[in-house]
Each structure stands twice: as C-alpha cells, then as structure tokens.
C-alpha cells in the first residue's frame, strides 16, 4: 500500500512529467531532460544503497556500463530485440552484483569504498581492452533504437516519456521499499549495524539485496542510454562518472528519494550552464563536493530545508519577543 501523502507526491510528479513532456518541444531541452531522467534512475538506486543502507559504492558506473554494453552488443552484433537484450543485461548485472557484493559487503567504510572502486576500474579496463566484443577505446557503434513490441522509439519525445515513466516506476518501487519493514531495517543498519544485528535483522542479506537492486536500476538505465545514444564508449563509464553519481546523491541528500532527482538534475544541468568553463567544470564539481560535505553533510536539499526551518523558528521567536516587548 502506498500511503496517502506518497500518493499525492507521485501524482504531482506525474503531472509535472506530463506537463514537461508536452510543453518542452526544443530538442536540446528534451535531450537534457532525458539525461536528467537516466541519471535520476541511477541516483535513486545509489541513494538507496548510500543513504538508506549506508554502504558507499565508488564503482556504480560499472553496473551502468555493463547494462549498456550487454544491450549494445546483443542488439548491434547479434540482432537481439532490444527488450530481450535489456532483460538479459539486467540479469547479467544482477549476477555480477551478487558475485561482487557477497565478499564486498562484508567490508565496511574505507575497505568497501576501495573494493567498489577497484571493481569499477577493472570493469572499465575490460570495456577498453576486450575490443573484439566492445569495440575497445573507440567504442561500440550501430546500436539500434529501442523497439517495444513493434513500436520503434524514434523521437526525443518518445524517449522522454519512456525514461521518465520508468523513473516513476523506480521511484514508486523505492518509496515502497523505504516505507516497508525492509526500509526501517535499512535505517537501523545505517545508524548502527551491530544494534540491527542484535535485533535479529539479517544485515548482510539486506545489504546484498539493496546492492543488487541498485545495480539492476543502473543496468536498465544503461540499456536505455545505449539505445538512445546508439553509440557507447568506455569513457562514459569511468571512475569520474562514478564520482559524479556520488556527487548527485550527496547534493540531493542522503536518504531522500526526491532529493536524488534534484541532485541528478543539478549535476546534469550544471555542465550545460557552465559550458563557458568547458572542461574546467570539474573544478566546480570538486568545490561543490567539498562545500556540501562541510556545511550540509545531509545534502543540499535537507540542508536548505533545515536552514529555512531554523530561520522561521527564529523569526517566530522574534515576533513573540516583539509582542512581549510591546506589552511591557
């Protein structure tokens, strides 16, 4: 069951998506919105892992890449239907996530960060070196557009509704998980894994589940990305992209599903606004990461909300003080 306030949130979201889909006609803006949608799917998944389960992943671009390459290779080189390829890609990613997750998630903190980082880099190097399958550093070309039951997605508008529709599903699923017993167990793991364990929560199983789920989200996002762009190369799935995803989660706020979308949107739009800086936009990313972590460790959305609440509380106090002052 979706609680009522969640239902309202989702309805507002649907209304906004439909509004944006019908009003935005400029291909450039549609393109930006599609990327925001794809990155949001990734960020919602990573936020489940980082914000709720408290496990960092510095190699999430790898799952995105596995999805993209599986879809790309199966459709471009073997003539599979995109939908079947997407399902197989998700299954392969889930399998990889299980194999990597079981030993990794025994580790905590720095060790987990190192393991996921190492995994991400190994996968990136494999994309680059297994050139007979992946096309190597120059990339994989000729990926067909997405085709669902005979309907080929051709316009940006089609992709916009597909991506944001899928994001809606991902959000609804994630909100449900967060509100369920599983979600509460995650919060317990986040606060104290030992306390959660002693209350009978099977922490390692839960952590693995959320790890696999977020990997599958990333894989689906990767498949759609591959079909939309029709060309993929290893550099889209490098360490820097993993860091960008972490930045999106951090900016959006840990443990906030809606914040994740805000974070994804901010970090996706930023380079577009900063195009005067060209490649120096990374400097801005660095500064954002540092400032947000120092001043608003719970994320930009939560930080700004809290500051607003604080100022309101202060204002109320002041007005009460004024009334008292007037009486005296």
């Amino acid at each position: 069951m979706v609680p009522r306030n969640r239902l309202y949130e989702l309805l507002i979201f649907i209304a906004l998506v439909v509004l944006a889909g019908t009003l935005v006609r400029e291909p450039y803006y549609q393109n930006v919105l599609i990327f925001i949608g794809i990155n949001s799917i990734l960020t919602v998944g990573l936020n489940l892992l980082m914000g709720y389960a408290g496990q960092i992943s510095l190699g999430h671009a790898a799952f995105f890449g596995i999805g993209a390459y599986c879809s790309g290779i199966l459709t471009a080189a073997h003539g599979w239907s995109p939908l079947a390829a997407m399902v197989v890609a998700a299954a392969v990613t889930a399998l990889v996530a299980v194999v990597i997750g079981i030993p990794s998630l025994k580790l905590t903190g720095y060790y987990l960060a190192m393991a996921t980082l190492g995994f991400g880099i190994i996968v990136y190097i494999m994309f680059r070196e297994m050139s007979q399958y992946t096309g190597g550093a120059s990339g994989l070309v000729g990926i067909p557009p997405l085709n669902i039951g005979g309907w080929t997605l051709s316009s940006s508008s089609d992709y916009f509704f597909l991506v944001w529709g899928l994001l809606l599903v991902v959000i609804a699923l994630s909100l449900n998980i967060v509100d369920s017993q599983v979600g509460r167990a995650f919060k317990a793991i986040h606060d104290s894994e030992i306390a959660a364990l002693s209350l009978g929560i099977d922490t390692s199983r839960l952590k693995l589940k959320v790890f696999v789920l977020s990997a599958v989200y990333a894989s689906v996002a990767g498949s759609i990305y591959a079909h939309y762009i029709t060309f993929i190369s290893p550099s889209s799935f490098d360490f820097m992209f993993s860091i960008k995803l972490v930045t999106m989660v951090v900016v959006g706020g840990m443990a906030s599903i809606w914040g994740a979308i805000f974070g994804a949107a901010t970090i996706t739009i930023l380079p577009e606004i900063l195009h005067v800086f060209a490649e120096y936009d990374v400097v801005v990313f660095g500064i954002i990461l540092i400032l947000v972590m120092i001043f608003m460790p719970q994320g930009l959305t939560c930080g700004v909300l809290e500051a607003w609440r604080k100022s309101r509380r202060l204002a109320r106090k002041r007005s009460i003080a004024d009334i008292h002052g007037a009486r005296l």
């Binding site: 980082m50 903190g109 030992i194 360490f239 972490v246 660095g286 990461l289 540092i290 972590m293 120092i294």
Partner: protein, 294 residues
Amino acid sequence: MDLAAQTLQFLFSGITNGAIYGLIALGFTIIYNATEVINFAQGELVMLGGMIMIALSRGTNLPIPVGFVLSVAAVSFIGALFERFTIRPLRNPTQIGIIIITIGVSILLKGIAMFVWGKETLSSRPFSHMAPIHVGSATLDPQSLWILGITFGILLLLQLFYQKTITGKAMRACAFNKKAAGLVGIPTQKMVLLSFVLSAALGAAAGVAITPITMCSYDMGTLLGLKGFCAVVLGGLGSTMGSVVGGFILGIVESLGAGLISSGLRDAIAFILLLAMLFVRPQGIFGIKEVKKI
C-alpha cells in the same frame, strides 16, 4: 632478448615502480595513522610535486636540489591549506564524508593543474647525467636508483622520526588514541596538521623523483594515487613497513604481469590484487585484524 633477460628487465622496472608506489603508500599511511582519514587526493599531491618542479626548472638553470626542496615546500604548504580548510571544519566526520571531501579536493587540484599547466605531458631533467647501466642484457635507468634511494632514505628518516623524536612519539600516541593523547597534553589538532604537511611533502618528493622517468601531466595523479592505495591495502592499512612492502609487491607483480601476459591489462592488475586481498585478508599482509568495540 631471451626470456631471462626480459624478465630481469621487467623486474627492474617493477622495482622502480614499486618504490614509487611505496612512497605514495607511505603518504597515505602517515595521514591515516594520525587521523584515520584516507586521503584520496594523495596522487594529486604527487602530480603537483612533479609539476611545480617542472615549472621551476623550465628555462632556468635551477640546481636540482634547490628545485627539489622548493617544490616539496610548496606542496607541503598546499597540504597544510588542505587540512585547514577541508578536514578541520568537519564537525562530525564520517568515513563516507571524508572519502567524498578528499575526492572533491583531488578533482579540484586536478582541475587547477589543468588550468595552470594545460593538458600536455611535460618532462624534467634527470637528477644525474649518466648513461643507462647495463646489467647482463638488461638496462637500468640511473634515475631508478635515485627513486630507490629516496624511498629508502625517507623510510629510514620516518622510522627515526617516529621512534626517536618527541613529535614523532606524540603522533604515534595520537594514532593510538586521540582522546587520551589530548588528555596528556599533546596538541592533537597540530599533529593532524603536521601529518598532512608530512604526507604532502612525501607525495611531492615522489612526484619530483619520478617525473624524469614517467613524465608528468595534470591527470597523472589519479591512477598513481589509486595504485599507492592498492599498495597500502596489500601491506595493511596503517602499517609503515607494510606500505613499502606492498608497494614493491604491487610494482613487481604489475610489471611482470604486464610484460609477460598482456600490457593492455597493466592497470587492471593492481586492482585485481586489491580485490583479492580485500576478499581474502582485508587487514593486509602486515595489518592486525581490527577488533570492533561495541
């Protein structure tokens, strides 16, 4: 060249790289021991060392020792700023928070370096003008000997510092128990600052020493830092000796693997070793298994 000579050649380059990784790993260890912070920007400090050396010596006839000292001093100062403005303001540092902040610093430093020095790969003069040394049918670059010498020299100095000086002992006390160290009057905040300065100095020394061989570009630091980090995990997080040993193991395995199996997979070898170590023995070769207090 026959296989034996080839292997010898790979071994030489492996040992050289190993010394470099060891030196970078030492930088990680110094900071980790004083603060339990893993500094993901360590590789960028190495890059800055190399770049500043190049900037100082380009077009001038600056003696190499002077350039060395100046670049180490400059990077140490950057290390101090780094600690003062990004690590100290943290109110409740979590490991995830520290990871993200130091990654932020690394991106920032990389971007600044790209802005200042551009994207080209630069090189600096070797420390000594000697012909390559021939050992059997393999050759050894004299700069490799410098790198080895600097690594062992620093290791020795570091041991002396930790064992013999009062500041070194204070730093070890901080690493052992920060609160208790504070209670007996050790200025823990200063020790943290010092550890960043020391680590930055080490990184810079590594950068200056390796640029004649590896050359230097703004994005050199990331991979070097990550590999130094693999060396730390191999040796055991927090172990001074382990860092250097881990560095040499990594360097040699990587060089032999790249030479004898596949050069394309060169960079993957370090991370495969890292994962293997983390999954089998996360505390590393020299590390002691962490016991968690509840």
